[in-house]
Structures are given as structure tokens and as C-alpha cells.
């Protein structure tokens, strides 16, 4: 009987869950949407948090940046858990292959001295920067309102520790399979003069109350660090006989391109919200006014250190150009409010 059954087509009563039907009509939808829309509870929380007054367990007031309907924002990458881990399994697999290739041929050991110094005193120490960015992202995972948004923060948090681990593995490889370079890197992060403005900035961002402000402040730093350290030096690495650096850097540039997609979409969604656009633009302007200059100074100290090791790359000069290009899209979204 079951064999026969399989030849009959049973008509579906509905194509998806009711909340999705209410939004999009009764049609088949992606696994991303089914696994994301309206998942977070909204109402009737039984008890108030003991850890914060005047807030519910889920509360839009955890940030100044709001959306009329939090699901106006969706992830342009459409990552839900499975597609996310599949994408990252690919990234880490590629990275692992790169690293094996470099290790088998001792390519890190053969890097020109300036490039080794760059890795050792600037790039590998950024594993701690990534770790700080992870702490910032995971605050959004808990406190952002709505599944579409917090999900991006959750993945970003996991990405950041993944980035920190990739940088650490470069450090281990650079140290010939030992922890020596990681110890050097940590000392540089904690004491190195060229990294103190950045560390101070990250610490001050980590303690902000508004998760979105800290996420955006870190993004302002990312928007300088990534183009400068990874993409910006890539070309010079190829010219300067530092192929190994280019091979490593490509993975970080690829990650940052991915990260940009959702952050830019989110900023645009905030800035154009039907009810909260004005307040959101003001809040975004406040973030820029407070943090853009600080980010620039911190990264300028880092760029100066790059110039010490690799004067030909003219990183400080590149920074000025990068900062200009990064400011404009934000400024246009918020009506040119901030400098």
C-alpha cells in the first residue's frame, strides 16, 4: 500500500508557517526566512532581569538604534546556521591549505625581514583586536532586537574568534610551531607603543552600554584596519617578494567583504526606517562624531609602525585616502551629518 501511496501527490494545506504567510503570502520560502522571521519572543515575559533595571528580557531599548519592524532588516547573505557553517568550513579549509602550503615550503621563514617584522609586531597581535571585536559582537547577539539582526551579530562574533584563531595559527607557524611568536604578539598588544591607541580604543568600546554603538565603533576601526593591513599591503607583498603575506591576507580581505554586506545593509535599514529614521540618523551621526576620529588616530599609530617596516608601502598616506572613502557612504546615509 505504501508503494502506491508514494505515487499520489498529497496537496499541501499551506506552504509555510503562518507568520511568514502573514508577511509574504502563502508561498514556499527559503530556509533562511523560515528559520529567521519572528523567531524571537515579543511579549509576556514573566520576570524582570535581576541584572538590569527598567528592561524586559528582550527589549528594543538596549540600543538607541531602532527599527519599526525588526524584520525590515534581513541578512543579504541569507545566512542561517547551516549555510553559515558551510561557508566558514570552506573558508577555514582554504586557510588551512594556505597555511600548510606556507609551512611545507617554509615560506613564512623566507619572508623578507620587513614583512616578518610586520607580521610579528603588527598583524599577529591583531588577534587580540579580533578577540575584543568578538566581545563587542556577542553583546549584539544577546541584546539586539529581532532574530535577523542578532543572528548576524552571533555569526560575526564567531567569525571574530575564527579570525583571531587564524592570526594565531599564522603566529604559531611563524614561530616554527612554537608559542614564541604569540607571546611576542601579546607583549606588543599589551605594551607596544604603536598598538596602545588601538587597545585603549577597543577597551573603551567594549564597555559601552549600547551594543549597536560599540558594533559600529568597531566597524569604523575595521573599515580602516582591513583595507590597510590586508588588502592594501597585498599588492606591495606581491611586488616585494612576500607572496606568503599575500596568501594569508586574501582570507582576511575575503572575510571583510562578507562582513561589509550585512553591516552596510543594516546601517541603510536604520537610516531609512519609516518611524525611527530621524532618531537613527542622529544616533549614527553621534557614533561617527564620537568614534571616527578616535579610530583614525588609533589606526594612524599602527600605520606609522607599518611605515617603519615597509616604507615603500606608504601606509600612512593610504590611510588618509581610505578614511575619506569610508566616511562618505555613511555620511550620505545620514544626511552628511558628521565630519
Amino acid at each position: 500500500m505504501q508503494y502506491e501511496l508514494r505515487h499520489q501527490v498529497i496537496p499541501a494545506k499551506r506552504q509555510t508557517y503562518q507568520n511568514v504567510i502573514d508577511r509574504l503570502g502563502d508561498q514556499p520560502v527559503s530556509r533562511y526566512l523560515e528559520g529567521t522571521l519572528d523567531v524571537q519572543p515579543r511579549e509576556h515575559f514573566h520576570y524582570r532581569p535581576t541584572w538590569m533595571p527598567n528592561r524586559e528580557l528582550y527589549d528594543e531599548r538596549f540600543s538607541a538604534l531602532r527599527l519599526t519592524d525588526s524584520y525590515r532588516f534581513t541578512d543579504p547573505r541569507q545566512y542561517y546556521y547551516t549555510t553559515y557553517v558551510a561557508a566558514r568550513a570552506g573558508l577555514h579549509d582554504d586557510f588551512g591549505k594556505t597555511l600548510s602550503y606556507l609551512e611545507e615550503r617554509a615560506l613564512l621563514a623566507r619572508l623578507p625581514a620587513g614583512w616578518q617584522a610586520l607580521l610579528s609586531s603588527i598583524v599577529v597581535p591583531l588577534r587580540h583586536y579580533e578577540s575584543g571585536a568578538q566581545l563587542v559582537s556577542v553583546a549584539g547577539a544577546r541584546f539586539a532586537y529581532g532574530t535577523s539582526l542578532e543572528q548576524c551579530c552571533s555569526f560575526a562574533a564567531f567569525d571574530r574568534i575564527g579570525n583571531a584563531q587564524m592570526l594565531s595559527r599564522v603566529g604559531i607557524a611563524l614561530g616554527g610551531g612554537t608559542r614564541d611568536e604569540l607571546e611576542t604578539a601579546k607583549r606588543a598588544w599589551v605594551d607596544g607603543a604603536h598598538l596602545q591607541p588601538l587597545r585603549r580604543l577597543v577597551e573603551e568600546i567594549m564597555v559601552l552600554d549600547d551594543w549597536a554603538e560599540s558594533l559600529l565603533a568597531i566597524d569604523l576601526v575595521d573599515s580602516l584596519v582591513y583595507p590597510l593591513v590586508y588588502r592594501g599591503l597585498d599588492e606591495h607583498a606581491l611586488l616585494g617578494g612576500a607572496v606568503a603575506y599575500s596568501l594569508v591576507a586574501q582570507h582576511f580581505s575575503a572575510w571583510f567583504a562578507d562582513q561589509r554586506k550585512w553591516i552596510d545593509a543594516l546601517v541603510a535599514t536604520w537610516a531609512t526606517d519609516p518611524e525611527h529614521a530621524t532618531a537613527n540618523r542622529a544616533a549614527l551621526g553621534h557614533v561617527l562624531a564620537t568614534w571616527a576620529g578616535r579610530a583614525y588616530s588609533a589606526v594612524a599609530a599602527l600605520a606609522a609602525a607599518v611605515d617603519n617596516h615597509l616604507p615603500m608601502a606608504e601606509t600612512s598616506a593610504a590611510l588618509a585616502a581610505t578614511a575619506e572613502s569610508r566616511r562618505s557612504p555613511w555620511a550620505s546615509l545620514i544626511g552628511g551629518a558628521a565630519s
Binding site: R48, T50, W51, M52, P53
Partner: protein, 106 residues
Amino acid sequence: MSVKALYDYEFPSMDRAEVFDDDVLVYVHWEGNPIFCSAACFRVPKTMPFGEFVTSFVVPWAESDPDFDPERTQHWRLFNDPLDVADTKSLADLGIGHKTLLTFAA
């Protein structure tokens, strides 16, 4: 012992008497009849006479058990104490306040 919190953790009770205005919540349990998993909860005016309460709330609920005989309700108690019921007395007069538990046998 009280709640450990980072601030003065004090909230009004969700179901305090005043939010029900002139009504009270009353629970009624038919003792020894497991066909009803639990006591029933009713919202009733405090001034309602007990007889009317039984006729308009308790009986319609209890008669979903086909063996229910309204004439045989007896042994009313208010929490653990016997309750001397009188049809004409109001719930308030009988001491049946907010969130009290009545039980009967039948």
C-alpha cells in the same frame, strides 16, 4: 531570603486584588473526582450571592461530568475549614476573598 539583584528588585504583584476591580478570583475543587484534573478558576463579583455563584459558575462547569448531581453538593470548605454556606449570603460575607480555594464533595 529575597531575590539577589543589581538594583532594588520590587514589582507589584501581577494578579493583586485591585486589578480585578469589584471581582475576585475563586478556585473551586471537586474533591475526589479525578475526571477534572484540577480546581476551576472563576472571576466573580464579590457581592454575588453564594447560591447564584453555584448556579451560574459551579454547576455549568461541574455538569460536564455526567454523574454530577447539583442536589448532592456538600461538605463545602474554604481552604481547610468547613464553610457554612448560605445561598443568599454574598461571597464577601462568607469570607470568600481574592484567590481563595473552595472545595466540595458530590
